[in-house]
């Protein structure tokens, strides 16, 4: 970890801004992620999370601001370019083809081939072997890799999507609300694989509006509010309560603080009983 800190961050952005017509979706966002670290980007609905994701993954170009990959300034013009530079994005519901087998999903768009000329074909046997090995490495157990993805749980699906991104050389993994649609147990499965990906040296950007999940896995936290970053904190610098309070708009919403406090105490008990 200490070695990684000395290198430039895998991905760093400074003062990113982007507006759509008259609507400003992102005004001033700065953050970075290093190898072997989980950076949680937290924000309520409308804070600019999805605009940030799309900018990082090459869907939108920013209006202002800088983006650096391993210290080198870049402008990502397409998702393809982002992928080529090792930035992989796993979208919440758009990661898998439900009626297709795990193997076929895993290699969608990057199928291993064998044979020559007109007989070039999808090497299913090799693909199957790779998938088994990769899932093993991530500690994911499936009965049969030819089973349809639709029969898997949401957590397993997200996990396989993560395994796939890691296999195809992702250095920076952007996860869009990976746990929002999942129950506590399923979310736990996904967070475990996020930890696995971190252990393999990936820089993970986990975008979420759920501070509890973020607190469980995150090394550093960047809080977004109304299109601006409200600062970045390491886990030692901030408590969970502060995290929640800042997410909700900080001191501007004094009247809500009391209620939030109540909620937090409830959650704390819940978390305690879970642990």
């Amino acid at each position: 970890m200490s070695e990684a800190v000395r290198e430039p961050p895998l991905l760093e952005v400074e003062g990113l801004a982007r507006s759509f017509g008259k609507v400003s979706a992102m005004e001033d966002v700065s953050m970075s992620v290093r190898a072997g670290e989980v950076m949680c980007v937290l924000g309520d609905n409308g804070a600019g999370k999805s605009t940030l994701i799309k900018t990082l993954s090459g869907v939108h170009l920013p209006d202002r601001g800088r983006m650096l990959i391993s210290g080198e300034e870049v402008r990502l013009k397409s998702p393809r370019e982002a992928r080529a530079r090792g930035i992989a994005t796993v979208y919440q519901d758009l990661a898998m083809v439900p009626m297709l087998s795990i193997v076929r999903n895993f290699f969608m768009g990057a199928e291993p081939m064998k044979g020559f000329g007109p007989f070039r074909r999808f090497d299913l046997a090799a693909a199957d072997a790779i998938v088994r090995a990769e899932l093993d490495k991530m500690g994911i157990h499936v009965r049969d890799t030819s089973e349809a993805v639709g029969t898997l749980s949401g957590g397993e699906r997200q996990s396989i999507a993560i395994a796939r991104a890691v296999y195809f050389g992702a250095r920076v993994l952007i996860l869009d609300e990976p746990t929002s649609a999942l129950g506590v147990k399923q979310a736990g499965i996904v967070l475990r694989y996020v930890a696995q990906a971190r252990a393999r040296g990936c820089g993970v950007i986990l975008v979420t509006h759920n501070p509890h999940h973020a607190w469980l896995i995150g090394d550093r936290f960047t809080i977004l509010n109304r299109g601006r970053s409200q600062g970045t904190f390491s886990k030692e610098q901030i408590t969970r309560e502060e995290l929640i309070q800042r997410m909700a708009g900080g001191r501007e919403l004094e009247e809500l603080t009391h209620e939030l406090g109540e909620l937090t105490r409830g959650d704390k008990r819940l978390a305690a009983s879970r642990e």
Binding site: P79, T89, M96, F107, M108, F122
Partner: protein, 327 residues
């Protein structure tokens, strides 16, 4: 065992056995089981099956092509007109018709992927354009609505050998059908393009995110359906030595029906070419079986309707099993 039940073509395969047994019992004595009787329903199944193979691929990719029926009329008429009016070799006529069909398929695909309109609407439009254009052009050039005399065209003999000959009493189109079914199955299950077809239909956004060129896949498949329609038109034009402007009417729905009977989902993402071949076989057996059973052919549509509904119920159930999360 479980994977066997998830095979999309299972229902259609059982349907083939059930329908064949039924007609064998009921109409076996009147010729359904005879060589010639089998040949008649296989001939129908072969032409529909060639269409259904292409249509099922397109449906797996999440699109429809309603223009294949009128493409049959347009292609057949193109072949006949070039031979009859301009005295071309029949191979020249076939080449022009095939080029035309690929062009129409490309246009269909391009409009669908560019405008993002439902392909149902776009190809319904091209159905009307093609069918009206065929009638208009034919009447403009000949003043008639059917053009014959193809057997007098140059090189007709070689075309007849390839498209309309008989092998041991069976139409040669049955061989084409098997070949095309095997080829399409291989493409779907064993090539990169096949995997993209599943991706394009099952979750187009996910596929695009993963780098699958979804628009190109769809355009290629629209060209395939159109081309197969032209192929069927060639069989019919050569076999019946001419064309009329109404030929192929309704074939687009029959092909979709065969694909659905074969386990292809209307919503895309799942299906089978082998299933579509079974679907076409069911179609042919029912169509001719009713004649052998001596039932008024008016009843034919009742069977088709009932089978369609049952097939869709089975498919919906299968999909439910596949998409349902494991508890």
């Amino acid at each position: 065992m479980r994977s066997l039940f998830n095979r999309p073509e299972l229902g259609a395969a059982c349907g083939v056995v059930a329908i064949w047994s039924f007609f064998s019992l009921y109409a076996g004595g009147s010729g359904f089981l005879s060589w010639a009787g089998s040949a008649t329903y296989l001939e129908i199944a072969s032409e529909l099956g060639i269409l259904a193979a292409a249509v099922s691929l397109l449906m797996i990719a999440g699109e429809f092509d309603l223009s294949v029926g009128s493409m049959i009329a347009a292609s057949g008429m193109t072949i006949s007109l070039f031979c009859e009016r301009l005295g071309w070799s029949i191979w020249g006529g076939i080449a022009v018709a095939m080029a035309l069909s690929l062009g129409v398929g490309f246009a269909n695909g391009l409009v669908v992927v560019r405008t993002r309109l439902p392909s149902f609407i776009v190809t319904l439009g091209s159905l009307f354009i093609l069918s009206g254009g065929t009638i208009g052009m034919t009447r403009l050039v000949t003043g008639r609505t059917q053009v014959g005399g193809l057997h007098q065209a140059l090189h007709y003999g070689s075309a007849e050998a390839i498209f309309a000959s008989r092998l041991g009493g069976f139409s040669v189109s049955v061989l084409w059908w098997m070949g095309i079914t095997v080829l399409a199955t291989w493409v779907l299950l064993r090539t990169r393009f096949g995997n993209w077809i599943f991706g394009a239909g099952g979750a187009p956004d996910a596929a695009r995110n993963l780098g699958v060129p979804v628009p190109k896949v769809k355009i290629a498949l629209f060209m395939t359906t159109s081309f197969c329609a032209c192929l069927v038109a060639t069989f019919q034009a050569v076999k019946f030595t001419g064309a009329d402007v109404l030929r192929g009417t309704g074939k687009e729905l029959e092909a979709i029906l065969a694909a659905v009977l074969g386990g292809t989902l209307l919503t895309g993402g799942h299906g089978s070419v082998v299933g579509a071949a079974f679907g076409a076989l069911i179609f042919g057996m029912v169509q001719q079986g009713i004649v052998f059973a001596g039932v008024d052919s008016d009843w034919y549509k009742v069977f088709l309707g009932a089978m369609l509904i049952v097939a869709v119920l089975v498919n919906t159930y299968v999909r439910g099993r596949m998409v349902e999360a494991r508890r």
